[in-house]
């Protein structure tokens, strides 16, 4: 699972009002090359919750991202490269996602988070 997906996911448990961002527990991180596409990054940028994104990147061991950015940073090639790397190339292979409100763990195995809820959580 990439950080792109992590940034979109929120906890879906019944009664949870703020299930975002899911905390990451890391066991294994993988890196896969993805073609760079600046248009996609510019398109995605407004949709990313930046703080959650930076925190998630730090958790899985990538601390190069600036804490605060505005859209003018998208002009910079260097920033785009970092953004691209963190957003699309880093994968959480093994570990877990933890709901910030209830502490419920969603295990991640082989890069696939198990988001299935128990019957009493629906």
């Amino acid at each position: 699972m990439r950080l792109l997906t992590h940034n979109m996911l929120s906890s879906n448990i019944k009664g949870v009002s703020n299930g975002f961002p899911l905390r990451i527990e890391v066991e294994k991180v993988a890196e896969k090359q993805v073609d760079f596409n600046a248009d996609f990054l510019r398109n995605m940028f407004p949709k990313i919750e930046w703080k959650a994104f930076v925190d998630a990147a730090k958790t899985i061991g990538y601390a190069e991202l600036p804490e605060e950015v505005d859209s003018s940073a998208l002009e910079s090639e260097e920033f785009l490269n970092k953004f691209h790397h963190a957003l699309l190339e880093l994968h959480l292979e093994e570990g877990a996602l933890v709901c910030p409100e209830t502490g419920r763990r969603f295990p991640v195995s082989k890069g696939i988070p198990n988001m299935l809820l128990h019957e009493d959580e629906v």
């Binding site: 699972m1 990439r2 792109l4 997906t5 940034n7 979109m8 996911l9 929120s10 906890s11 879906n12 299930g19 975002f20 993805v34 596409n37 248009d39 996609f40 398109n43 995605m44 949709k47 919750e49 699309l88 082989k110 890069g111 696939i112 988070p113 198990n114 988001m115 299935l116 809820l117 019957e119 629906v122």
Partner: protein, 287 residues
């Protein structure tokens, strides 16, 4: 005995290793899946500017999205199907989840969603806790929330009967989607495919439902919305449509209405008085 997979087992059981394997080994299934998702992507009508979008694939459909350069997130309830996807090294991210529990995604982040032959599974109650209506509501509600405004969702479905189609469509309209059903090849029993084309937000020019493929000649149904059109959009349900179709003015129903009714009775073979200048004329006040 029905051959519908929905009636045999719940999806996470039915799509076991053997069934999932068919999606890599059977060229026929691969081709069908690919064609369906190509058509779904076409109906999604994303802006043609070459910018990759973030799409959602509900019930894994294949690699069409990556081939078109888009980034995607795939959701499936069957671990075996996900394992197959891993084996094929698909480029999107995968999630193990149940769409009937709602999609746990932030609001407004997804540019479009497609789904191939998945939504009709929601019409079945596989556990005592399952209520199809609520599961459809949870699914469509969360889909509506996570789509960006103006975003489309194209869901290819195989409803078992009219009631199921109605149930699915009504659930979609109920949460705020506008759109309708596009039927490809309506006259063929095998090639016939139904797509729900839903748009997030109120209806406008851009949300008009595209026409289907393979329509030649007149529409077969006696449905009002398709009766005078040559395309094959079979029905358009729109929650913004005024509830009462028949206009009743202050003056009463009028001569036209009476003539129409008499004509209907005549066609039915009833004994109806002839139309004269007195038909539907008001009586004088002193009567």
């Amino acid at each position: 005995m029905s051959s519908r997979p929905e009636l045999q087992a719940p999806p996470e059981i039915f799509y076991d290793d053997v069934e999932a394997r068919k999606y890599t080994s059977s060229s026929r299934i691969i081709e069908i899946q690919a064609n369906l998702s190509v058509r779904a992507l076409e109906l999604l009508a994303l802006p043609d500017d070459g910018v990759p979008r973030l799409l959602l694939d509900i019930g894994l459909s294949g690699e069409t999205l990556s081939e078109n350069g888009h980034q995607w997130v795939g959701l499936d309830i069957s671990q075996s199907m996900l394992d197959i996807a891993l084996e094929r090294e698909v480029e999107g991210d995968l999630l193990l989840g149940d769409m009937g529990q709602g999609l746990g995604l932030r609001p407004g982040v997804i540019d479009g969603a497609i789904s191939i032959s998945a939504v009709q599974w929601l019409c079945n109650a596989d556990k005592s806790s399952h209520v199809p209506k609520l599961r459809l509501k949870a699914f469509f509600g969360s889909l509506y929330r996570c789509l960006a405004r103006g975003g489309r969702a194209v869901l290819q479905v195989y409803p078992e009967n009219i009631q199921q189609r109605e149930l699915i469509l009504r659930s979609a309209m109920h949460v705020g989607f506008s759109g309708g059903v596009v039927v490809d090849y309506p006259h063929s029993s095998k090639k016939r495919k139904e797509y729900l084309v839903l748009t997030c937000g109120p209806p406008s020019v851009s949300t008009s439902v595209p026409t289907g493929k393979g329509e030649d000649g007149e529409s077969s149904s006696d449905n009002e919305s398709s009766g005078d059109e040559e395309n094959q959009t079979v029905c358009i349900s729109d929650r913004h449509r005024p509830k009462k179709k028949q206009k009743i003015t202050k003056k009463g129903r009028g001569r036209d209405w009476v003539l129409k009714k008499k004509e209907q009775r005549r066609r039915r073979g009833d004994d109806v008085p002839p139309d004269t200048k007195y038909t539907a004329r008001k009586r004088k006040a002193r009567f």
